[in-house]
């Protein structure tokens, strides 16, 4: 079974703090993603990475950065947390197909519920 783990289930931080959210997958997947999930808005893509040290902005990258130094690990960084970043953060991974569909099934971690006070 594919396993995607996230470093914390619940996190409480103060405004202005630097926050690190870690994600690790054990299936040797090339692609990794960070989403935030808010009620009524579904999942919105923050950043994704299709290879080590590669990253691409998603739909809402402002206020976030990412790091992918190893294939299995993808970190989301909030440089200076703000209250509007209070949300559920979901990490996902997917394999890269040699031919055919690139964007196939994504495997999700359990999520980190971040509260910024």
């Amino acid at each position: 079974d594919v396993k995607v783990t996230q470093s914390s289930r619940y996190l409480v931080k103060r405004t202005g703090e630097k926050v690190f959210l870690e994600c690790v997958q054990d299936m040797d997947h090339e692609n990794m993603f960070w989403y935030r999930q808010d009620p009524g808005l579904g999942l919105r893509l923050i950043y994704f990475s299709y290879d080590v040290k590669m990253k691409e902005k998603g739909d809402i990258p402002e206020g976030y950065s990412v790091s992918r130094e190893k294939k299995e690990r993808f970190s989301l960084i909030l440089e200076s947390a703000s209250t509007n970043q209070t949300s559920m953060y979901l990490c996902a991974s997917s394999p890269r197909k040699k031919t055919g569909v690139t964007t196939d099934t994504q495997y999700f971690g359990p999520g980190t519920r971040l509260t910024v006070l």
Binding site: L41, G42, L43, Y50, E56, T102, T103, T105, F108
Partner: protein
């Protein structure tokens, strides 16, 4: 640009009744379609997907969905729901050539005894 609309934000239904969760998409290219389920306090997991071939797709837990290209829809159905089906369901679309999957806003299914 691609988009996904889930037409119902909440669907209450009695146990053993049939259910349909509606999803419409817009895209200018060929699409790949997915339904994911999120149980309380968990991440998302794949229910089923349409990549090509038969337009009727069967998934886990007795769910199925039908791809209708002319109506740009991918509605999810189950003939008889259980209490354990209570969850949030997300429809998603990708074009297969890139890396982005667009998710709908979600539909909360409440199954009542």
């Amino acid at each position: 640009a691609q988009s996904v609309t889930q037409l119902d934000s909440q669907v209450p239904v009695f146990e053993e009744a049939p259910v349909e969760l509606r999803c419409n998409y817009s895209s200018s290219v060929s699409v790949y379609l997915f339904w994911y389920v999120q149980y309380p306090n968990q991440g998302l997991q794949l229910l089923l997907k349409y990549l090509s071939g038969s337009t009727l797709v069967k998934g886990i837990n007795g769910f199925e969905a039908e791809f209708n290209k002319s109506q740009t829809s991918f509605h999810l159905r189950k003939p008889s729901v259980h209490i354990s089906d209570t969850a949030e369901y997300f429809c998603a679309v990708s074009d297969g050539g890139g890396f982005k999957t667009i998710f709908g806003a979600g539909t909360r299914l409440f199954v009542k005894a």
